[in-house]
Symmetry: C2
DNA sequence: CTGAAAGCGCTTACAG
DNA sequence: CTGAAAGCGCTTACAG
């Protein structure tokens, strides 16, 4: 662990002023020989500019944060990849931070100046969260449902996604469909429940078989799946996301229930584990990749001074796999 | 997006000097009335201290970074949780960044002063990486195998872990065992291959059925699994980690091969998906949680000025599940 | 093209 | 207990 050398040290070694050293290193106006000597000195010393000092001065850090509720959910890893490819082109570093469902403090902390902006996944978009986003000292793009004007957001249409799924299941012959959802005081929980109910009504089937898990995770979904199956085996089960669907699949296997033979099963998010599971899992692609890309571009333009764009949405797409198709089983 | 108010603004509003405002806010010496007025002014203005300014001055940022090669691998999410619980107690924020297998630049960039220290997962611990760690301006703890003195590291014993796995498979009756491993110029690739070969020799069985995938991911493991199975069905397959084992399981299913009936299958890391898969996957717990905890504590004491501890290791543990036990199949 | 100087927002001895 | 001042490391007009 070496002490980081300063610009002053580099300048001294090169025999020039600090100002000239700065210009030489940052592509400012400087003579060829100055540039050469400063570069040499910097290399010799292993000089690394102190980004806090630079940031204090310039107001830019070259960093952007992604705030997510659950680092273990593959959908966020996928979004992170998409974000990274957008940001890499601009030489901006992406950092991920795990935060609560209603990340008020974390959003407020963004104003501390350590990042140039942030992309925030908020499960609970409370008024406090919206307020924090609006008063943050840096641009923030919310991945989620925000109706407030002046706030940038990119949302999935999981209401429509649920519709696609229910329609598909009914087309496969299901009449009795259960839903395993997360907390309904969250945006995804509420939207997916509403979408499910609306789709069932449209199809003229009951929408009363619903289990609400404590969280959108594997662990929380397992007991919910148990509770639902204890009440009998429906024709099909839809889970609020792939992670929860996979926990349900596991519970089915434990009970000797075969998917799709004994019941159909589907999730949302279309993550990689859905593709790899046995049977592979039918899911709804909620456009994670596209949402991340749009969010990144929106954030970049906001950082460059553009005004908020408002809400943007990405359409869902049904991805049929083995878990809902009896013929290939 | 409100402009962040400064300490100067708070001080002015409270009618005190900047110095007094700073002391009042940070628990320094100040009169009760000063504290009250400054606090009030800060609240009114929604004041947030600029951490870059504070960091420049104090040399502390209150942030620590975790550098990982693959944000999508659940084992890193698990480590992140363990780290977070350790760091939360100290009011330190944890940020995750995805970096290359040999994160030389990323480690060097740590010296920019944006974090107080870092925990780095390096797949390839090259001399360059070690040099970057040693010369970084902040303490760095490497999660991986580093023999160099003066570098803090916490390693898993995957060599022994492979031994446990091979012994178990042989005990289950396997004689012909295949290995699907990642690049062997990485620490985990090399160690797991070596551990596999050593264990096979000890058991007196062949160790020549090896497929090397391009990466330690689902996607890279799938073609490797295909290649191996194209050559015939061994008694058992071991994959270098759970993600790769799950891809192999999927490939088996696609070919109509039943695990554990037609062949046994096991992975390493003991991640949540291993527990949830159907069949559930036998794996080796390489102590991700403990390693993260040890790394966090080591980093914290380094940040507090302690000298490097050197290498620490965590013992592996076999976790037997359905994928290697025919009786319960 | 180059150097002296100011200033980014904050903390911390140093005198009062 | 409080304020004026220096300084953390850097960038950027401003004169030369």
């Amino acid at each position: 662990m070496a002490e980081g050398s300063t610009l002053a040290a580099v300048a001294a070694r090169a025999g020039v002023s600090i100002a000239s050293a700065s210009r030489a290193l940052n592509g400012g106006i400087a003579s060829t020989s100055t540039i050469a000597r400063v570069q040499q000195a910097a290399d010799d010393l292993g000089y690394r500019p102190n980004l806090m000092a630079r940031g204090l001065q310039s107001g830019r850090t070259g960093q952007v944060a992604m705030l997510v509720p659950d680092a273990a959910n593959p959908v966020y890893a996928r979004m992170m990849s998409a974000l990274q490819s957008e940001l890499d082109a601009h030489g901006i570093r992406l950092l991920m931070q795990q935060v609560p469902a209603a990340p008020v403090d974390a959003v407020a902390a963004l104003s501390a100046g350590l990042v140039d902006g942030a992309i925030v996944v908020a499960l609970r978009v409370t008024d406090d969260v919206v307020a924090a986003v609006r008063t943050a000292a840096v641009p923030v793009v919310v991945l989620g449902l925000v109706e407030t004007a002046g706030v940038d957001s990119v949302r999935a249409d999981s209401h429509a996604g649920m519709g696609l799924l229910v329609d598909h299941l009914v087309a496969q012959g299901a009449r009795r469909i259960g839903l395993i959802v997360g907390p309904v005081d969250t945006t995804p929980g509420r939207t997916r429940l509403d979408g499910f109910v609306a789709a069932c009504e449209r199809q003229g089937i009951a929408a009363d078989l619903v289990e609400v898990a404590d969280d959108f995770t594997h662990a929380a979904a397992r007991p919910a799946a148990r509770a639902m199956l204890d009440g009998g085996v429906p024709d099909a089960i839809v889970a609020a996301n792939d992670a929860m669907a996979l926990a349900t699949l596991r519970e089915c296997a434990t009970r000797g229930l075969r998917v799709p033979h004994d019941l159909l099963l589907a999730g949302l998010d279309d993550t990689e584990p859905a593709e790899l599971s046995v049977p592979s899992l039918t899911s709804i692609d909620l456009g994670a990749h596209d949402r991340a890309r749009i969010a990144a571009r929106t954030l970049l333009s906001r950082i460059d001074g553009a005004a908020p764009t408002g809400q943007q949405a990405v359409a869902p797409r049904l991805v049929v796999r083995e878990s809902t198709t009896k013929e290939t089983a």
